[in-house]
């Protein structure tokens, strides 16, 4: 059940340092939104504010509103744990739990959140691994440790783990930056499949990737080192890459910048 995200006037801090300032945007359901921009411009920070992972960092705090289908994630009484169950996340470096088997890794989100029947779990694990295009490669060794897989397989395992809890939104923080081109292609194909069911937000340094997988693209930039990052513009991906309305965007995507 994909949901829409409405962000308005969002500012995030690390302690006294303002990392991003006054960001407003809408993320459409059942679509892929890509965040591009130079290093340190706050893309990842902004992504982490969308499922309240930002406040896990010591000193991290947020001002502003993030509405998930009209419900404010930062409203009073909202449980961050419940938010994270609704909005899943895939990280830059594949991070399967080293003590768990492939099966247990996929089942981790469900098992750690409550008890499930064995048959029910089996179904969910199979469905999630199929959803992550990993089932055929691992179905014979589900009880082997997840850390024995290759980097690309581990990242797909992490995607399977994230979609096993059936989130509404899937956030991906540079999911392919540690992977080779073949694994990257596998994950990009997967993103294309997943957007039928989920709202997807992806941070990437690879502009071709943003152009290939996303429907909408947001360009972030910062005025100078030490200044907070800002959203420069967000538009349909085609428009951003052919005819952006801001000069800075065009400079960045054509490589005349930084």
């Amino acid at each position: 059940m994909a949901k829409r995200i409405d962000v308005s006037g969002l500012t995030a801090y690390y302690g006294s340092h303002k990392a991003i300032e006054d960001i407003s945007m809408t993320v459409e359901p059942r679509s892929v939104t890509a965040f591009i921009g130079p290093s340190g411009c706050g893309k990842s920070t902004f992504l982490r504010t969308l499922n309240r992972m930002h406040e896990v960092t010591p000193g991290g705090r947020v001002e502003g509103k993030v509405l998930l289908d009209d419900e404010d994630l930062y409203g009073a009484g909202v449980d961050p744990v419940a938010v994270r169950r609704t909005i899943g996340m895939v990280f830059q470096r594949p991070n399967p739990f080293p003590t768990m088997s492939i099966y247990d890794n996929v089942a981790a989100g469900l098992r750690l959140n409550g008890s499930y029947k064995k048959s029910e779990l089996n179904d969910i694990v199979e469905r999630s691994l199929k959803g992550a295009n990993l089932w055929n490669e691992v179905k014979d060794r589900l009880n082997k440790p997840g850390s024995g897989l290759s980097g690309g397989q581990q990242q797909r395992l992490c995607i399977a783990r994230a979609i096993a809890v059936e989130p509404d939104v899937l956030l991906m923080d540079e999911p392919c930056s540690a992977l080779d081109p073949i694994s990257t292609l596998a994950i990009e194909d997967l993103i294309g499949d997943l957007k039928e069911r989920f709202t997807i937000v992806i941070v990437t340094h690879n502009m071709q990737q943003a152009a290939r997988v996303s429907d909408r693209t947001a360009f972030f930039n910062l005025a100078a080192v030490g200044q907070p990052g800002r959203l420069i513009e967000i538009d349909d991906t085609e428009r951003i890459f052919s005819n952006p309305s801001v000069q800075a965007t065009e400079d960045y995507i054509s490589g005349r910048f930084g």
Binding site: P98, S147, G148, V165
Partner: protein
């Protein structure tokens, strides 16, 4: 022509003169021989002096020969290597001689009878008797101390790493550091003062309390280091799945580091097993079997060793028993360490395909 010159030149700039592979051994043998000659010639009695002379000759000889043949950089490399070897031998010699001596003297009376009988009806000056009561006492006192100290220590470390920030955490870290430095006799005196206030007679559990005080900071420190080794990405991965923090710690962080935590606890156990001072003050010693740690004096292995040696000076049978008990104590600690390593290997994150 010029190519040939370069081809001729290159190897000479890359290949310096090298001492043959066997040269360190030859220098070692030579320096030992010279040291023996000096020792005999100067009439030095102590073999330790001979060894030290040999060590110094070895280091200096290595440097001199290498500097002459290979040049100064290689000579520095060789002197560093030989210093490491000498230091290694200096560290290993006492260890090996201690184990050798303990085994040699300990096996004399160490048998099943010795392990399964107490000193109940045997006077300290007579042969016979055993250490069953001391083994029992050590197991109970150390076991109870571990039951107290391990959970408190592990939970403290979890608090410090996962939750603690600000003044409380800083204060706890400070007091843990202070506790690490408490001499064991002071921990014993602390419990003894409580015991005197409550007008209690010596009993095993009092010793456990003092041992727990000594064990706790060691467990906190080692567990803290192990928890810090768990990558933050694993915590974030779990939190991002919507798992509450306490379950993340319980199901992801602790299992990932359980091998190291267990090793740390076992090493702490090994440390307190050999403590004599607090046991002497609080448990008092007993030549009869007392299986109840909560009432009446008990024995323990280090205390037994001390008392056998102290109470019957010059008596051969008591000495033999003290050595056999020492051997048992060393074996006990070693078995604990092996168990810890086994657990660490068994629980370590798996990497196989």
């Amino acid at each position: 022509m010029s190519n040939a010159v370069i081809a001729d030149k290159r190897p000479s700039s890359l290949h310096g003169a090298r001492l043959p592979k066997w040269s360190p051994y030859a220098i070692a043998v030579g320096s030992v021989a010279v040291a023996i000659a000096i020792g005999l010639g100067a009439g030095l009695d102590s073999r330790i002096q001979w060894g030290l002379i040999a060590a110094i000759l070895f280091v200096l000889g290595t440097y001199g020969i290498a500097a002459r043949v290979e040049g100064s950089r290689q000579a520095k490399d060789r002197i560093a290597t030989s210093l490491v070897w000498v230091a290694f031998l200096l560290a290993v010699v006492p260890l090996v001689s201690l184990i050798w001596e303990t085994v040699k003297r300990g096996v004399k009376v160490l048998d099943i009878y010795f392990l399964t009988h107490s000193m109940g009806v045997v006077a300290d000056s007579e042969p016979g008797g055993g250490i069953y009561h001391a083994i029992l006492g050590t197991l109970e006192q150390v076991g109870l101390a571990t039951l107290i100290a391990a959970p408190i220590g592990v939970l403290t470390a979890i608090y410090l790493v996962e939750y603690g920030s600000g003044n409380l955490a800083r204060a706890i870290t400070f007091f843990v550091d202070v506790m690490t430095g408490i001499p064991s006799i002071v921990a014993g005196l602390f419990i003894l003062s409580l015991m005197l206030m409550l007008e209690l007679q010596p009993f095993g559990f009092a010793g456990s309390l003092a041992l727990a005080i000594l064990m706790m900071p060691v467990v906190v420190r080692s567990t803290e280091e192990m928890l810090k080794l768990v990558p933050n990405e694993l915590r974030e991965a779990s939190l991002a799945l919507g798992v509450p923090k306490w379950r993340t710690i319980l199901k992801v962080v602790v299992p990932t580091s359980i091998g190291g935590i267990t090793t740390g606890i076992m090493l702490a156990v090994a440390r307190i097993t050999g403590e004599t001072a607090p046991v002497l003050l609080l448990v008092f010693g007993n030549s009869f079997i007392n299986a109840n740690p909560f009432e009446g004096a008990q024995a323990s292995l280090p205390l037994y060793i001390y008392q056998q040696w102290a109470n019957s000076a010059g008596n051969e049978a008591a000495y033999d028993r003290a050595w056999a008990a020492s051997l048992t104590l060393i074996a006990f600690v070693m078995i604990l360490n092996l168990v810890a390593r086994g657990i660490a290997r068994w629980k370590a994150p798996k990497t196989g395909r």
